[in-house]
Amino acid sequence: MRILMLGLDNAGKTTILKRFNGEKIDTISPTLGFNIKTLEHRDYKLNMWDVGGQKSLRSYWRNYFECTDGLIWVVDSADKRRLDDCKLELFTLLKEERLAGATLLVFANKQDLPGAFSATELQEILELDKIRTHHWKIVWCSAVTGENLLNGIDWLIDDIAARIFTLD
């Protein structure tokens, strides 16, 4: 399964990836470029692509769209100022033809920080209920503590597995 992880800068994408991969997370700097990791989970082989989220890099996201089975959108739940920006980017992304049919998982990250919005609040703020074109789900998590990450991934895998292997 090919999984693409996107989101605004400083949302915690690389931290999540490193968590998954069992690497240290104390020396993470902004991603200049992209990371690819291959993980195995529940006998599925997951190819995780993590691309930097700086504004200047966003126009290059399109290079990574093809063959994407699942999209993980990571949100910094405590970064209240940029949620509008976040919503805009997400909805632009969902119009993308090559992501049609991909499953969308939204991680409401940084729940460990005080003042973070909960997943339900974010669902409303980001107007996720408007999404009709993709299967989606929002899951709270904390990449730093590692809490609830697995729940989200499990749902993503289940949803992909339920439809995959039918078309090329």
């Binding site: 691309v51 033809e97 597995a161």
Partner: protein, 1176 residues
């Protein structure tokens, strides 16, 4: 050093392991070794060439083992690549080391696949410049280092994915500084440069181009111009094939990876280019495939992707997800599907550009391509493009595909069409309302078999049609397919049982299984598929004769199966299929008696009038089989076959052969087939008790059979011989003895015919007669057959007729089993035994080789049959003398040259020892029982020389067998085949050694006496003497009779040498001479007059008139002097000089030149100089 050799041995050992490990490995076991090898790379490269090559071979061998399960490497890829990359980045490493590193990397890429490896290559900004620079300095034409360029291109293809504007890498302002090339231009140049090279780098370059040119910043500046470049280059008249290929491949890659919206503006131009280019008619597979791949991808560019509405409805494939969903599973499904459907409906409003029609047209053309690879690609394309079309248009595509299925289109179009239908079906694009049109077409395709020359085409179409049926199973709801289920099921089962080709039978079986599993509506599905599974149908006989019968018990399938056989297979072009068809119809008869009588038989009789030979032949065979099957049925019901068949069919059967005679159907090439079929027909009618007794048709039939007995095609003779017993049994029992004698006399006369095949046919005919005819004429028949086994000057080479006479005698013994006690006089029996025993010594040869072996084999079988019968009924005939002859004769055959003969002899020998009732008077029976224990011999592979020689060699010590066994061993040890010589000689020599240890010199001397005796008995008979030369040479060289030949009291060497000299006297056979030289050289080791005599003989040969012999003698003599020189009679002081003289002389020079040298040599060797006899 010793470590090194050990290692190399291990490599060799591993190399010899069979390839194709399947999926036997469990993890990457050699990871440490491989890592170490990589670490040592630097020192290895600077070592000797051989060390490096060995290391590289070992490395690629290890990784090569994982070719079929490369995922096992996954956990270590990172680690391996890290090491490689470190070498490449290290500036202290020489270019040579780097090239080797890349070569090593390529092996890894080859095994794991580039798409996987490329993800693990580093892609930092800092990598960009070094990699690009390294690539730029490579020499495109250096054939040694192509893997360097390949890997670098691949590496660059991941680096160019970095999400920064390329201009930021330049380090200068490109708008102001035009003297320097920008990074973007440099990469573009690399793409173009390598896209059209002749080596594998082309593939990597295409991949790089796709990644690079689809970039957000690059596509604006360069995509259009790149397409222009590729278009122009590919149509230039002087472009090489690989240049065209490269252009097409790069474009195809870009079309695959690029964003649709970016590419759509270029699509119309590209489409025009592809369609109008000259290379479109290029006959090469590679170019053609790329052409259709490009057309397909252009088509996909025109149309937005649609999300299949049913993608979540196909049943969840994840067990876990299903279990977790529990009772609510269906709820979530329905909820989500409504959402996606909404989305899909929106897709219906898409705008379809005009070009799409062109694309579809082209792809349909591709379906009819003569190249299978291209048809596949086109079919996939049709499926994918159609998947993006709105419903109505998609249906039009289906319509156009269906138009391919006309008789006017060739087989390629049918195949392509079937593939396309399958692809459409698989994607759910064949709308249910099309099924009434599609299904009949598919049924026809399942049946497609067009004769062409001596074979036919169509197996690929039938195979593809099975694929269509398979796809239907997955695409449609049960209700949709229901009206067609019976037709499809029957047609699939017909292919499952009766297709000529294994792949079609298997495909049909798999498609049937898929349908049973998914549709569940196929009648008796489960029962049938457990019987007719993938493996069961692989043997054609089994499918025809057993599986079909099982399936026919279900009434839905009975008639379709039979009908197919009658309509399509009776007249099949392959004779084996026609014969099988007849047998299958025989087996199917009980399932549909009425149908057979009322429909099939009249139909088949009509086919006997056909002008098509195959059809007539198949029909006659089938009629015979069906009538016979019917007769067996009525027998059980105490009825008669004529009542069941009725007047018309009886008449047709009766007139069949005379009709053929009238039409001259028995003449010419076709006549052979018709004769064959008619013999079978007569046989079956006789067994069916057809009511023709006393009718003139009987005489007609006998006349035909008699004619066939003298026919020079073995099958036809055998057909007639096969039919005779049934025929006589049925129609001659009531005839007078006079009539019977008439037949016998005629056959006996023909036994002395001057045509060999006439003798063969009639001998077998006599052997096949039933006992009531034989009994009054027994003496006459036996005597005549015995005479026929005699070798006369006219029939020197007629081993086959002698074989058949012996076979006939054997089968007479069997037929007369019940009369052996009463009517078989001892005189007959003794004569037959003499005949059989004489047969054992038949060694006739012609240009086919040892054809006497057939006679020997027939004789052995005869001995077996008769002896076992007599043991049961008349054991007093089996005297000790007779049985000894039999046993030793057969034992001898068990150690001779031909594997097949040996195997037969071994089995027969063993059957005597353990027969019940016991064969009396077997010499040394108890020893034999120990040697050939029953439980072990049942399982022995009698064809294996290694096993049987070991057993039979022990027989040499038993006096009754010694002579024959040694005779047999002489032939084997002195034979030509390497395995035979190896196996027989090792057994014999080991046996001799152990005998000497156990029983002493005396025993070996005894064997030598017998060996001498054999030689003496067979003087001047080359069949024995030539192997004898080699045998003696081997045994003397082996040292196992050393004590005998060095024994000064023994006259064995002297006597043998005398015989050898006699053999060589005036011998003109060059091979025999060469063997003789070898043997003479063996005598040098014996320090006595024998040595001198041999040396004299050899020195004569040194001046042989053929230069080749002279040279061979000198070299052999030289070799043996090295080995035996010390133990010879040559004075020690002269030895060196003699050898010097031998090797420094060119013995191929004229005799006059070499003669003085030879004479000098004789003096040195202290022997008399030979003087040639003056010619009188």
């Amino acid at each position: 050093m010793s470590l090194n050799t050990e290692k190399s041995e291990e490599i060799i050992q591993k190399d010899e392991e069979p390839f194709g490990l399947g999926c036997a490995l469990e993890y990457f076991a050699e990871v440490d070794e491989v890592l170490k090898m990589i670490e040592n790379l630097k020192s290895v490269v600077h070592d000797q060439q051989s060390v490096y090559e060995r290391a590289y071979e070992r490395y690629s061998f290890i990784l090569g083992q994982y070719q079929e399960q490369p995922h096992l490497l996954d956990t270590h890829i990172e680690q391996l690549l890290d090491k490689f990359i470190m070498f490449i980045r290290d500036p202290s490493f020489s270019n040579e080391v780097k090239h080797v590193t890349f070569k090593y990397m390529f092996v890894l890429i080859k095994v794991r696949g580039y798409k996987i490896i490329v993800r693990h290559l580093p892609h930092e900004v800092s990598d960009f410049e070094p990699v690009l620079q390294l690539l730029e300095v490579q020499d495109e034409e250096d054939s040694e280092t192509w893997s360097t360029r390949y890997v670098l291109l691949l590496w660059l293809s991941i680096i160019v994915m970095i999400p920064f504007h390329m201009s930021r890498l330049d380090g200068f302002n490109s708008s102001s500084d035009t003297t320097q090339k920008t990074v973007m231009c440099r990469v573009l140049d690399v793409c173009k440069q390598y896209a059209v090279v002749p080596d594998k780098c082309r593939d990597a370059a295409a991949y790089l181009a796709a990644r690079f040119l689809t970039r957000y910043d690059v596509k604006e500046q360069h995509l259009a111009s790149f397409f222009d470049w590729a278009r122009k280059l590919s149509v230039m008249p002087d472009s090489m094939v690989f240049v065209k290929y490269g252009c097409l491949a790069s474009v195809a890659m870009i079309l695959k990876h690029g964003k649709r919206e970016d590419l759509i503006q270029h699509a119309p131009i590209l489409l025009r280019w592809i369609i109008n280019a000259e290379f479109k008619n290029d006959p090469g597979t590679n170019i053609q495939k790329l052409v259709y791949k490009n057309i397909q991808r252009i088509g996909l560019i025109f149309l937005p992707a649609r999300v299949a509405a049913w993608r979540y409805q196909r049943g969840s494939r994840s067990l876990m997800a299903n279990l977790n969903a529990g009772d609510h599973g269906s709820d979530t499904l329905s909820k989500t599907s409504s959402a996606s459907e909404e989305y899909a409906e929106n897709g219906e409003n898409i705008n379809v550009p005009d070009e799409v029609e062109e694309v579809i047209d082209q792809l349909i053309q591709g379906l009819g391509s003569s190249d299978c690879v291209v048809r596949w690609s086109a079919a996939k394309g049709i499926g994918r493009v159609t998947g993006r079309l709105p419903k109505e248009l998609a249906d039009e595509v289906v319509g156009s595909v269906l138009e391919l299925f006309t008789p006017r289109e060739g087989d390629s179009a049918w195949h392509g069409g079937s593939l396309a239908l399958a692809e459409l079906g698989r994607r759910g694009l064949l709308l249910p309302q099309r099924l009434p049109e599609v299904v009949p077409v598919i049924l026809k395709a399942l049946d497609y078999d067009e004769p062409r020359g001596y074979s036919s085409v169509g197996s690929h179409i039938r195979d593809a049609a099975c694929y269509v049926c398979w796809s239907f199973a997955r695409a449609y709801e049960m209700e949709v397919l229901k009206p067609f289920v019976n037709d499809i099921a029957a047609a699939l089962l017909v292919v499952t049982c009766f297709d000529r080709e294994i792949n079609c039978r298997r495909a049909a079986s798999a498609a049937f299984q898929e349908n049973v599993g998914r549709q569940g509506t196929f009648p008796h599905g489960i029962d049938i598929l457990t019987t007719a599974d993938f493996f069961e149908v692989s043997i054609r006989n089994n499918a025809y004769l057993h599986i079909s019968i099982y399936i026919a018990q279900f009434e839905e399938y009975t008639i379709p199966l039979i009908k197919h056989l009658v309509d399509r297979k009776v007249e099949h072009w392959d004779i084996a299929i026609r014969e099988l068809t007849a047998k299958a119809l025989h087996n199917l008869t009980p399932k549909a008696v009425e149908y057979m009588v009322e429909t099939v038989l009249p139909n088949l009789f009509k086919k006997t009038d056909s002008i098509d030979l195959n059809s007539r032949h198949g029909a006659v065979l089938a009629i015979g089989e069906i009538i016979y099957a019917l007769s067996k049925l009525v027998e059980n019901q105490n009825s008669k076959v004529d009542i069941l068949l009725g007047h018309d069919l009886i008449d047709s059967s009766q007139n069949l052969i005379s009709n053929f005679q009238e039409r001259f159907y028995f003449r010419g090439m076709g006549g052979e087939l018709m004769r064959h079929a008619c013999c079978d027909f007569i046989n079956k009618c006789s067994m069916a008790h057809m009511p023709f007794h006393g009718n003139s048709v009987i005489d007609e039939w006998l006349k035909l059979l008699n004619e066939c007995l003298t026919y020079d095609v073995a099958n036809i003779r055998l057909g007639a011989v096969h039919a005779l017993p049934a025929f006589f049994n049925e129609y001659y029992v009531s005839k007078s003895q006079q009539d019977q004698s008439l037949v016998i006399n005629k056959y006996i006369t023909s036994l002395s015919s001057s045509v060999q095949v006439a003798r063969m046919g009639h001998a077998l005919a006599l052997g096949s007669l039933p006992s009531f005819i034989l009994l009054p004429n027994l003496r006459k028949v036996i005597d005549a057959l015995i005479v026929a086994t005699h070798i006369t000057s006219d029939t020197l080479k007629w081993a086959e007729s002698r074989r058949d006479a012996i076979k006939a005698l054997t089968s007479i013994c069997l037929t007369m089993e019940n009369y052996i006690q009463t009517d078989f006089l001892e005189e007959y029996l003794n004569n037959i035994y003499t005949t059989f025993l004489n047969g054992l010594s038949e060694y006739t040869q012609d240009n086919r080789g040892d054809i006497g072996a057939w006679v020997r084999e027939a004789s052995m079988s005869g001995l077996q049959t008769l002896t076992l019968l007599l043991a049961k009924y008349k054991s007093n005939v089996l005297t000790s003398e007779l049985v000894t002859k039999i046993m030793s004769g057969i034992a001898q055959q068990a150690v001779e040259k031909i594997d097949r003969t040996r195997a037969l002899a071994g089995k027969i020998f063993y059957s005597f020892i353990h027969s019940n009732p016991e064969v009396p008077n077997i010499p040394n029976k108890n020893t034999l029982m120990d040697l050939f224990p029953e439980n072990e011999c049942e399982l022995i592979n009698w064809n294996s020389a290694a096993i049987t020689f070991q057993k039979f060699v022990k027989l040499i010590e038993l006096p009754a067998y010694t002579y024959n066994m040694l005779l047999g061993f002489v032939c084997s040890v002195g034979g030509l085949t390497e395995t035979l010589v190896k196996n027989s000689s090792t057994c014999l020599f080991e046996f001799f050694k152990s005998e000497e240890q156990e029983k002493g010199l005396f025993q070996i001397t005894h064997y030598c006496v017998i060996i001498y005796q054999i030689f003496y008995d067979y003087q001047k008979i080359d069949r024995i003497t030539i192997p004898m030369f080699r045998f003696l040479c081997q045994i003397m060289g082996s040292g196992c009779i050393a004590t005998v030949i060095t024994d000064t009291n023994s006259d064995f060497p002297k006597k043998i040498l005398k015989l050898v000299q006699l053999e060589l006297l005036g011998c003109k056979n060059i091979y025999k001479l060469m063997d003789g030289i070898d043997l003479l050289c063996q005598f040098i080791q014996i320090k006595s007059e024998v040595c001198s005599t041999a040396l004299v003989q050899l020195s004569i040969l040194l001046c042989h008139r053929q230069s080749y012999i002279r040279k061979a003698t000198s070299s052999r003599l030289y070799e043996s002097l090295i080995v035996y020189g010390e133990s010879s009679t040559i004075p020690e002081g002269n030895l060196d000089e003699a050898m010097n003289l031998l090797c420094s002389t060119n013995w191929e020079e004229a005799i006059e030149t070499v003669k003085p040298i030879r004479n000098a040599l004789c003096n040195l060797m202290d022997i008399r100089v030979p003087v040639s006899k003056k010619k009188a």
